[in-house]
């Protein structure tokens, strides 16, 4: 999807990108952390972000799009300010993870990854978050929230800015 304004790394992110380059033998390997860095800044990976990274790294834009479309946590569409991952893998499902996921979608009147009308939240169904000990579990931005039920999940998300 397209985005009108031009994208460019902020100076500190550009410095971080240059540091990434020293970590790997080839530039292709630095693509994943670079994409996360760009997503951190822009929220999602629009065509202008892809074009910028393509030029920055000297990779064809289709190679970058292949990577973005492969990974669920790289977004090629606009998302809300807060990202919520609800685990629906085996353990969490046994504890009602899928019901929590569909309940959250219903409460916030939205769909998979679609931002809520106020642009506050995007909810995404996720495979294993690796936190079975606190099943059912969800991830709100960068924090795990474990042992949830639908009610506590809703109240947790309502607190989000």
């Amino acid at each position: 999807m397209s985005q009108t304004e031009k994208f460019e790394f902020t100076p500190d992110r550009l410095a971080l990108y240059k540091e990434y380059l020293t970590r790997y033998d080839d530039i292709d390997s630095a693509l994943l952390p670079t994409l996360h860095l760009a997503q951190e800044q822009n929220g999602w990976l629009s065509d202008s972000v892809v074009a910028y990274i393509s030029e920055l790294m000297g990779l064809p834009s289709i190679r970058i799009k292949e990577v973005i479309s492969f990974y669920d946590m790289l977004y090629d569409q606009p998302v809300g300010r807060n990202i919520v991952h609800v685990c629906t893998n085996i353990t969490c499902s046994m504890f009602g993870g899928r019901e929590i996921y569909s309940g959250l979608l219903k409460h916030f009147e939205t769909g998979y990854l679609t931002p809520t009308r106020d642009g506050r939240i995007s909810i995404q169904k996720m495979e294993c978050l690796g936190a079975c000990e606190q099943a059912p579990c969800m991830r709100v931005n960068n924090d795990y929230v474990g042992n949830i039920d639908l009610q506590s999940a809703i109240s947790k998300l309502e607190e989000l800015p």
Partner: protein, 477 residues
Amino acid sequence: MTEKVKLTWNGKEIEAPKGSNLLKAALDNGIEVAHYCYHSGLSVAGVCRMCMVEQDGVPRPFPSCNATCGEGMVIRSDTPKIKASVEATLQFHLLNHPLDCPVCDQAGECGLQDYYMKHGQYDSQMIDKKVHKEKVQDIGKNVMLDAERCILCSRCVRFTEEITKTNEMGILNRGDHAEIQCNETLKNDYAQNLVDICPVGALTSKDFRFKQRVWFLEDVHTTCIGCETGCSVKVSENKNGAFRVKPVYDHEVNGHWMCDDGRYIYKHVSSPTRLGGAVENINGLFVPADELNVQAAVKGKKTKYILSTALTIEEYANFFNAVKGKNVEVALYTLPSDGPEFDGILRRGDKNPNLRGAKAAFELAGFDHSQAGLDNLLGSISSSDAVFVVVPEILYNEDHFNTLIKKVEKAGVRIALACGETLGTLRAFNYLLPIPAFLEKNGEILNYQGQARKLRKGMTYGEASKDVSYYGKWVNL
């Protein structure tokens, strides 16, 4: 000379260069091995898993396309283990395939059909619904994409990455939903090669689709006359006409590929407006005429010839034999360059397929083939002249040819020798006479390397017997 090694494949002893590709060694030695992703003109991907083999002393089967030849290797591709493996793999390839063979243009030359007959399971075990993807996508450059039929061999991705370096194709998404997609539209001049290398019907040619079934076509192995490269090609044709041009592997000239311009060189040969017999121009209308009338019109006039550069060496030789010792003027019309001199892959700007052959023939016969020679001839034209102009077979630059026609206008009788379509441009001539097209004659042309390239005769749609040497005998009747 590279070192050769001996190995046995299913008990048959074969020889191959040391360290060369194992699958290629088998294919070169006439052993049939099922494969989709391997193409000797591209890098190895090893994704289709169809070419699995077993080797003595190696515990597990491995794909032969990703292995190299070594001395004394004992390879088997006919063991029960391999058969089961290929059958299971093919089953996966066909999981989401729509099986729309009746409306698919690849039918008859499709890798899935061929290998299904050999390795198919026949009874479907599928209980889940097939994943549907977008069909009929026009991705530009006359290529149509059907994502459903694709088996993700990635040949097209590697072609745009390695050969044209334009990187338009890619595999997007993951797992069942993975599909070939084109970034915007194709923008390289070799896009039709994608249709050739696609082992299934995912990429088809917009020019060829729905025209003919491939089993009704016969291939004629000839040479492309689109430019001075002289790529080795095959033209698929039947009695209804010629339908497509595909490259034939030739390691000295074109390798595996050919350019998009060359794909359309067949069009004039069986075109409905193809010149079939002598035609007279009466006030802008082309009316069939008797050849004797044309001869009568030429009688008593001084004859001048302007030849094109698309004739064969034999035609030039026969022509100069016919006009030998007669008072005649002959010049050569060369097409101007079109595009860059060389695009780095195959296509050359010089659109004169047999310029070298023509020059040699002119020099041997003592005629001037230079532009000055043509200018001389054009300058001396008067109303007592009959001028024969051989129309270039592939007329890239009609405007440039029109300037030539303007200069011929002073002549008493103007005759075009054409093997192409009856173009509006040709209204400037009094008579049109047919000559054989490249598909209707045997002969040789000299390409840019000076290498003799063979033209071979297929079917005849127009005139095949009356070439320029026939009309060369009409000198000073």
